[in-house]
């Protein structure tokens, strides 16, 4: 078969960098195949993508050697625009890629730069928008689309030039599960029906196994694993690699010590495969679901009753929201992009005022609670950590918060140590915050919040854009806080993350609470979850398939539970 990409002995180092970002990279991809590049933050995924679309060496310079061939021509011998006729790129942040004032002008931008005739542009844009079901939005302002639709529009812009190779850098990390699923289905269609070759760089294995023919794992700029998905996940588990997310079902089978075969061929990577393997060896018994949250007659620390919020133009964002938050519990607020999750967080902090309803914090009306005290006692960790940091040294970032809250010098020092310890950033105390990795910045923004020892911490999309290792570390930090009595509210569309940690889940759909209960209760209702645009976590799917109520959906706990039920 024709090789569409061929990379041989590629090394690369950015100017000013102290070590090589890519080392000894060798791989190739055949026409019509999909290669997934898995790796943590800073592993070199994006740098590799930039080598394939010509950004490196044409727009970003550095020291490098090796051969990068796309469609049998060396990238360094073609200009970026020449390459772009056959190779298109979709980047992580859908918003930053949009400059058009309507869906049509955005989608036409690539063809317009290539000086294609106007009539031809219209025809091609129409075709590609129809392909991704966005043709009815022709005249819509793209910034008013949901994140998922924006990302689809970026794909449509690429499709309009009919490329042979589509490069996607974290295409689904900012968008909700349903939109992510739609994009993966679309990419699968392009691969199968049009023979388009795909290279997807990502941190999430969740979707990759559904589309990738091969997986390449990058660790510290080097290929650590390369092969078929089953073989790669098998080897990652065998070698206990912690930086890379592995399908939960595979981890579960590994923890249960179920020997498939000596090779990776029988190793399960989908829920169905895992179920088939497990069904013969466990006693099926239905256990009642546990109601964990309100069992101990605890009084809520924060309580919302019939809260509604709308913007000045009358757009209703939240409608009749009621729920309670308890100490030492984790509440997950889930919903697709635009469901009202972030608005709800702002309402809880008095940054937005609801037009109806009642919010009580520590049994006092929230509106009457003094702001200075409230912001000491309820902390918000924003989705984008750079908005929360001042661009100073790590310890200074925390000190600045504490100084503004009038703590004395000794107390400040004590709290800096304490909060850096919780998020495991003690060693980076003197680092400039701008030099930290994305995951470390997120941990630092958590540290700035926990330094005031709040009663409640609200985290807006804590798992977005960070690698598996950082996600685990953040979750560990939150668990420590929870044990100390802090209530945690996690706002997310990442169902795997929330299934691991939440004691109670609220599903927001178009500003209304569509479901509320323990994870077991929520995940028992597949139809309603799908209606709300959410995806069932893998282990919840396994529970439903095997008709077993797991006491928790964290892999370790499910493994312990199943071990006790094994024949």
């Amino acid at each position: 078969m024709t090789k569409i990409v061929e990379v041989r002995n590629l090394f690369f180092e950015y100017f000013g960098s102290q070590e090589k970002t890519l080392k000894e990279i060798n791989f190739s991809i055949e026409k019509g195949k999909c290669l997934a590049i898995l790796g943590g933050n800073g592993s070199g995924k994006t740098t590799l993508i930039y080598h394939l679309n010509g950004i490196i060496p044409h727009a970003i310079k550095g020291k490098g050697n090796g051969i990068v061939k796309v469609l049998n021509t060396e990238v360094k011998n073609q200009s970026i625009s020449e390459i772009s006729k056959n190779v298109c790129t979709v980047l992580q942040d859908p918003e930053a890629q949009i400059i058009g004032s309507t869906v049509y002008t955005q989608c036409a931008s690539h063809l317009s730069n290539l000086e294609v005739k106007k009539e031809e542009i219209e025809k091609k844009v129409k075709q590609s928008l129809e392909e991704i079901s966005l043709s009815t939005y022709w005249h819509t302002n793209p910034k008013k689309l949901s994140y998922g639709q924006m990302q689809k529009l970026s794909i449509a812009t690429s499709l309009s030039v009919s490329p042979q190779l589509l490069l996607l850098d974290e295409p689904i990390s900012h968008i909700d599960a349903k939109s992510g699923e739609e994009i993966i289905n679309l990419l699968n269609k392009l691969k199968q029906q049009k023979g388009m070759s795909l290279i997807i760089a990502t941190q999430k294995s969740e979707y990759i196994k559904e589309i990738a023919d091969e997986i390449l794992v990058l660790q510290k700029g080097k290929i650590s694993h390369y092969g078929e998905p089953r073989e790669v996940f098998y080897n990652l588990l065998e070698e206990k690699v912690q930086q890379i997310e592995i399908p939960r079902i595979s981890v579960l089978i590994n923890k249960l010590n179920i020997k498939t075969t000596n090779t990776s061929s029988g190793f399960p990577i989908t829920v169905e495969e895992g179920y088939n393997l497990l069904s013969g060896i466990i006693n099926k018994k239905k256990f009642p679901t546990k109601k964990q949250v309100k069992s101990d007659n605890q009084l809520p620390i924060l309580s919302l009753r019939n809260v509604s919020f709308s913007y000045f133009d009358g757009t209703k964002i939240l409608n009749d929201i009621s729920f309670d938050v308890f100490q030492s519990k984790c509440l997950g607020i889930v919903g697709k992009n635009g469901a009202g999750k972030t608005t709800l967080a702002r309402v809880l902090l008095k940054l937005l005022k609801p037009y109806k309803g009642n919010i009580k914090y520590m049994d006092v009306e929230l509106q009457k609670y003094p702001n200075d005290r409230l912001y000491n006692e309820i902390g918000l960790v924003l989705q984008h950590p750079e908005h929360q940091l001042l661009g100073k040294a790590v310890e200074e970032e925390i000190k600045e918060v504490l100084k503004n809250k009038n703590y004395d010098k000794n107390e400040i020092e004590l709290r800096i140590q304490e909060s850096l310890k919780i998020v495991s950033l003690e060693e980076k105390r003197n680092f400039f915050s701008g030099k930290l990795s994305y995951g470390e910045k997120k941990k630092l923004s958590i540290a700035t919040v926990i330094a005031t020892r709040p009663n409640i911490i609200i985290l807006d999309e804590p798992s977005t854009g960070i690698d598996y290792k950082s996600r685990i570390e953040i979750a560990d930090a939150l668990n420590k806080l929870k044990k100390n009595g802090c209530a945690i509210i996690i706002i997310t569309h990442d169902m795997e993350y929330i299934s691991d940690y939440a004691d109670e889940i609220i599903v927001l759909h178009e500003g209304v609470v569509s479901m509320q209960g323990t994870p077991q209760e929520i995940f028992a209702n597949i139809d309603k979850l799908q209606e709300s645009g959410l995806r069932m976590p893998e282990l919840a799917k396994l529970g439903n398939l095997s008709n077993i109520n797991f006491p928790s959906f964290a892999v370790d706990k499910v493994a312990r539970f199943l071990k006790s039920k094994m024949k």
Binding site: C88, A96, I99, T105, E115, N404
Partner: protein, 274 residues
């Protein structure tokens, strides 16, 4: 609030440069006519013509409700201030709310001359402000950019202009998130005085705002590069509306006539001379 909306109307088909010229001309008109009587006689035809084209452009007035309220309040304040405080020449009192003398002027007395001066100022403000939506809400940044490219502006500048406009909502969103983060950190206090707030905003917000925009800017730049931005010095103009020369001429002719007539009457001394 004031943002481009695609509609298939007469005004949307007028050349973007024509609409831009009308916007600048309305600015000059407001500056050149400086006498209350002239303002009251000469500016309303311009305002009425602009509002007529608002109607033709099907401008969503509901979206401008808040701007309308704000303008109404400003105009009322100006008329009241001028009505009570105007002190030049012979004054004709219209009504009185009391006798309060301030530098020999009874500021409790509302005068006809003050009312006319206030009305004149309001008409000048109105003349400029209502021209903005007529341009912004009917012209996409791309259309304006491509029109500039057609008259010889380099492609790079056109793209920079379009990207700059598309970045405005991102800047607003990031700015408001940073201010929220600062409020929660206790750095930006609502209760602090305006001066302290301004110092905090100007001294500290630019750093995270700049870093965050830089990050977005890099993604935008890479996205542009991979979409053949640097292919050549030409681009295919992708206008949303079919620009009509006839409609552009009618539009410019009507505004041009009123403009020249107003200037003639303003400078010839036919009206407003003492």
């Amino acid at each position: 609030m004031i943002e481009y909306e695609f509609k298939n109307t007469f005004v949307h088909k007028v050349s973007p440069i024509g609409k831009l010229i009308v916007l600048f001309v309305s600015l000059t008109l407001a500056f050149l006519i400086q006498n209350p009587i002239k303002e009251i006689i000469l500016l309303p035809p311009w305002i009425i013509l602009t509002l007529f084209f608002w109607f033709k452009a099907k401008i969503n007035v509901k979206k401008l409700k808040n701007l309308g309220i704000f303008l109404g309040v400003i105009c009322l304040v100006i008329i009241l201030i001028e009505g009570f405080l105007y002190r030049y020449g012979s004054l004709t009192p219209l009504f009185k709310i009391g006798n309060f003398y301030f530098f020999e002027k009874n500021i409790g007395e509302f005068t006809l001359e003050g009312l006319m001066t206030g009305l004149g100022v309001c008409l000048r403000i109105l003349c400029v402000v209502i021209s903005v939506p007529l341009f912004v809400m009917t012209t996409s940044p791309e259309e304006l950019g491509y029109s500039f490219a057609n008259v010889g502006l380099p492609k790079n500048l056109v793209i920079i202009f379009i990207v700059g406009i598309s970045f405005i909502p991102t800047v607003q969103k990031s700015f408001s998130e940073i201010i929220d983060a600062y409020k929660l950190k206790g750095i930006y206090k609502e209760s602090a005085n305006l001066f302290k707030k301004l110092i905090k905003v100007y001294l500290t917000v630019p750093i995270p705002l700049f870093l965050s925009l830089l990050q977005k800017g890099v993604i935008t730049q890479i996205s542009l590069e991979t979409r053949a931005f640097g292919s050549s010095q030409k681009i295919t103009p992708i206008f949303l509306s079919q620009i009509s020369k006839v409609k552009s001429l009618i539009f410019c002719f009507l505004f041009g006539t009123i403009y020249l007539l107003s200037l003639f009457l303003n400078f010839s001394g036919i009206i407003g001379s003492k």
